[in-house]
Amino acid sequence: MMGHWIIAPVVLPAFLAPLIVLWMRFDLRTQRVFSVAGMVALLALALTLAASASLNPPEVYRLGNWEAPFGIVLVLDRLSALMLVLTSALGLAVVLYAIGSGWDKRGWHFHSLMQFQMMGINGAFLTGDAFNLFVFFEVLLIASYGLMIHAGGEARLKAGVQYVVYNLAGSTLFLFALGTIYSVTGTLNMADLAQKVAQMPASETGLLRVGAVLLMLVFAVKAALVPFQFWLPATYTNAPGPVAALFAIMTKVGVYAIIRVYTLVFPAGGTIGFLAQEVLMPAALVSLVIGMVGVLGARDMGRTVAYSVIGSVGTMMLAFSQFDQNAAAAGLYYMVHSTLAAAALFLIVDLVRERRGAAGLRLVPVRPIKNAGLLAGMFFAGAIAMAGMPPLSGFLGKLMILDATRGNWLIWGTILVTSLIAIVGFGRAGSMVFWKAHAAEGVPPEASRDASSPGLAFTAAGGLLAGLVALTVLAGPATDWLRATAAQIYTPQAYIGAVMDGAYDRAWSATSGHEGAHGAAADADADHAAEPETGH
């Protein structure tokens, strides 16, 4: 049992971030040391929590010891532990890359914004309260606004404005959704909501359905599902390389929220029927097609990778929209894979951009760049993983999704055809940038000057690729663990029980005990006597 450690992934970065701003503002070296140390500590914490979560049932942390429907709870289960590990591993790679490539000295406060970002993401994965989820979304978004425009520049600021406005509209929609759900159920604690929603007669769920669909729209904005994917390509292409890599987890926050809410609060076949499935399936199919066609049509390498993120979100949502345990396990495997693959590709693309000088990432031949061979090899590996070709984990992930959706020809056809399109798209981008370079005229482009330690940058990107290899080699144990995770997701009673069982009794005995301590025993007795009349 982890006790107070459950809140540590939120508290640690929340403590480090202001420390970095206030105390180490002018000393980049100290900032780097603390930032890396913080990320390593976060990773260790996340791994410990994951180990505990895989042995124990869902564990609840009551903030301020307030009982569940009245106070906010954090819940640690296998799914949230998995997301924590993924986030902190990605955060460590991104910080190392930012240090190695010198991105962190091109603007102010990179490291503290990173810590705030981690705080928001970890909180969103841990919280068991829908309004608190909104608050953590805002924390992670406001940090991401700062990171997105890190180092400034006209195109980046303009793309930043679009990103901020899009997400502010999303947040407003989130509040409308929460308000609607609250007005129907009178609670926003997810476990309590699950109980209240399940008790609701099917004939009176009109408003609830509206709330559920509004909530789905909000999460679809975060996950960049069609038709809400418009913010993603411009944002990811114009964001600094390491930030784009970190944003690979941001779409997964939306995916996580969809999984959490639509298995726990609004389970398929429950009070609102199969509404979520009916909405998600077509959206996922279209996202997959648009994403992969975008990979083929993109005119610069950054956009190629950005569109492949949309495609991969579509692929995993196809799995999750089956609302079935096997498909969810396959989807989780693919989610881990695609997060690592997308982050690795963004880092590799950024390494290429730094070396191509004025040509940027446009798909035009330029004289061979520095480290062209190594970068080409790394892009090759990343592209294989992303497109889903053997031998890397993308192939296994797609295979598992195909296996879980056996007999559904629409899904099979779409996944297989779009994979082919993606292979062609990545092949085109790679051969244009790396192979045609040898036939190009002119002088070799000048590499950017301020990379403090290119070795570290390559290590960070290579580390993510190594993660993909590990995910492939250890696919057996990983799948077993993810199957158990999917099984836990589809037995929400354990989650609900952990939060709500005995909560009202404990809350009641806590209040009466408190009043008794103040020598108002008679008052407490009167309260007890009056209890039936207050009419719960």
Partner: protein, 115 residues
């Protein structure tokens, strides 16, 4: 009263949506502010509209005239603080973009093509 509050929320939302679809940053920022006002009132109304009621349930429960739900008030406070902060961020960002680019267009338009 319900009709008044509901139509106020509706009109403000409509105006907000119209404004955030404009092509310049200034109306878009105004639209965001308008939308956040609308959603704040909406949140406030989710506990049902009750005039002159205390936000606390008196304990005897026999002669209490009723109460107003304190929860949406706490939610709306949080939402106000957050939307205020976010409006400040979007104002700063669009000012930054305006100074860098020399115009306040929302579209990426031209620099996309040349890039």
């Amino acid at each position: 009263m319900e009709a008044l509050v509901a139509s106020a929320i509706g009109i403000m939302t409509a105006a907000g949506i119209y404004l955030i679809l404009r092509l310049r940053t200034f109306p878009v920022v105004l639209g965001m502010a308008m939308l956040s006002y609308a959603v704040n009132i909406f949140l406030f109304a989710t506990g049902r509209l009750a005039v002159n009621m205390p936000p606390i349930l008196e304990h005897a429960g026999v002669n209490t005239p009723g109460y107003t739900d304190p929860m949406p008030q706490a939610l709306v406070l949080t939402a106000i603080v957050i939307s205020f902060g976010m409006t400040a961020v979007v104002v700063m960002l669009s000012l930054g973009a305006f100074i860098e680019a020399g115009n306040d267009r929302i579209d990426l338009g031209d620099e996309e093509k040349t890039k």
